[in-house]
């Protein structure tokens, strides 16, 4: 679907975490991202969205959230808990 070029990582995350079928996962992510399900696979639209939300994208600008930093934001946007984010918070004393 395009991974972090689009919203493939986010849709896959909902499938893996919640067992959502494709169309359900797409609808959930689209609603949280403020786009239509068909726009989730559009790298032009999604790059802008990902830049605005600062949730990670390819060839990032200086200062953009990367790796675990981006996942902290993804957990907030998708309203889910991400295992590595929870571990990060615990290890850094943020939680």
């Amino acid at each position: 679907m395009g991974g972090i070029r689009t919203a493939g990582d986010l849709v896959l995350r909902m499938q893996l975490a919640k067992g959502m079928k494709l169309e359900v996962a797409k609808a959930y992510v689209a609603e949280k991202m403020g786009v239509t399900p068909i726009e989730l696979s559009d790298c032009s639209i999604m790059r802008e969205k990902r830049q605005t939300l600062d949730i990670g994208y390819p060839m990032p600008d200086p200062g953009a959230a990367k790796g675990i930093e981006a996942k902290v934001r993804i957990a907030e946007v998708l309203k889910i808990k991400i295992n590595s984010v929870e571990q990060f918070k615990r290890k850094t004393g943020l939680q």
Binding site: G2, T6, V11, N83
Partner: protein, 349 residues
């Protein structure tokens, strides 16, 4: 009469007439329907498959909006070990994410078996920790139950493949039952370590490679892992379309494991706590690509209809209608993907 370019199941190019392609498609779907006791494809679906096959384009794709996500089997060492590029697995995962646009990937050891990982979990966990700090997409830890590794001389139990030809059926069954217990312990132990390392999920891959006991070991481990780590994602991928009855009497939740095709396998996977199921349909290299494609789509369609969890159809060399060759032709792979998604309704690949 016009002839259309297509391929055999081993990837070699062939030219078939329209009537020949339609005949192959019909035979393929009827074969799957007969073996799986499932519905064959409709005339309209066969017409659409025909259009996909005779399309003059080289690489084809799904209709806009029908894109699906991908998961992997031993994804982290496709670049390093298999393509033989000097690169560590953690870097390879970043390449998959930032360059190749993967939706997810699994980290795995070169042996890709849980038994082999048990002794090196502490090091594998550290790789997972680094990967989780540096990546955005979901990253799973993957390996095979690979029950055969638990047999002597490398493992602790008798080898059922040696006992069965001698007629020692009771002993062969007992050995498999003992191996299941060892494998379950290993898989649960490794899932615990990977959960602590921040993994997004576990990938139990190539389940059934050693028959029904191999599948049962995975299901039992998944059931325990789901209970211990409720939020951990779990993917279960199969080794073949049909679970071989190396034991023959094993059951999970009252259902005999041996002899199940994908649409029944997914029921057991869901019962155990799997969140993504990966069915396999074997490619017959002596048959044509159209025959294999109609057959694969028939099985996958029945599986997705039976499933309430997402189904990621296996589409690699020798499975999911993809020709059995180390370098599968993109024309065939892209046609297989399109058909499995648009007609088979796969939630991912």
């Amino acid at each position: 009469m016009d002839k259309y370019f297509t391929r055999m199941g081993d990837g070699s190019p062939i030219y078939l007439s329209g009537d020949e392609i339609r005949s192959e498609l019909l035979e393929g779907t009827l074969d799957a329907a007969d073996r799986g006791k499932i519905a064959e494809l409709s005339p309209e679906e066969l017409d659409y498959l025909f259009e996909i096959i005779i399309s003059p384009v080289n690489v084809t794709s799904v209709v806009r909006g029908k894109e699906v996500v991908t998961s992997s089997d031993s994804g982290a060492f496709k670049i390093s070990y298999q393509a033989n590029i000097s690169m560590d697995r953690a870097t390879a995962i970043q390449v998959h994410e930032k360059v190749l646009a993967a939706d997810s990937l699994d980290l795995g050891n070169i042996d890709y078996s849980y038994k082999a990982v048990k002794a090196i979990l502490h090091d594998e966990a550290k790789v997972m920790e680094n990967v989780q700090l540096n990546t955005i997409m979901p990253v799973l830890y993957g390996a095979m139950p690979n029950l055969g590794l638990y047999t002597r001389p490398d493992g602790p139990v008798d080898n059922w493949s040696e006992l069965l030809p001698k007629g020692k059926i009771v002993e062969a069954r007992a050995a498999q039952e003992e191996a299941i217990e060892h494998a379950v312990k290993d898989m649960v132990y490794i899932a615990g370590g990977m959960n602590a390392a921040g993994a997004d999920g576990m990938n139990f891959d190539t389940c059934g490679a050693s028959g029904d006991a191999d599948v049962l070991a995975a299901l039992k481990a998944i059931e325990i892992i789901r209970d211990k780590y409720p939020a951990l994602g779990i993917e279960m991928g199969m080794s073949g379309e049909f679970i071989l009855g190396m034991h023959g009497q094993l059951e999970f939740g009252g259902t005999r494991v041996a002899g199940l095709y994908p649409h029944r396998q997914v029921e057991l996977a869901e019962k155990a706590g799997v969140t993504i199921f990966g069915p396999v349909v074997n490619t017959n290299s002596n048959k044509s690509f159209p025959w294999n494609l109609a057959r694969a789509v028939t099985f996958i369609k029945a599986c997705t209809e039976a499933a309430s969890i997402p189904v990621h159809a296996n589409v690699g060399m020798g499975v999911g209608a993809t020709p059995m060759t180390p370098v599968p032709p993109a024309d065939a792979v892209s046609r297989a993907a399109k058909a499995l998604i648009e007609i088979g309704k796969a939630d991912g690949l």
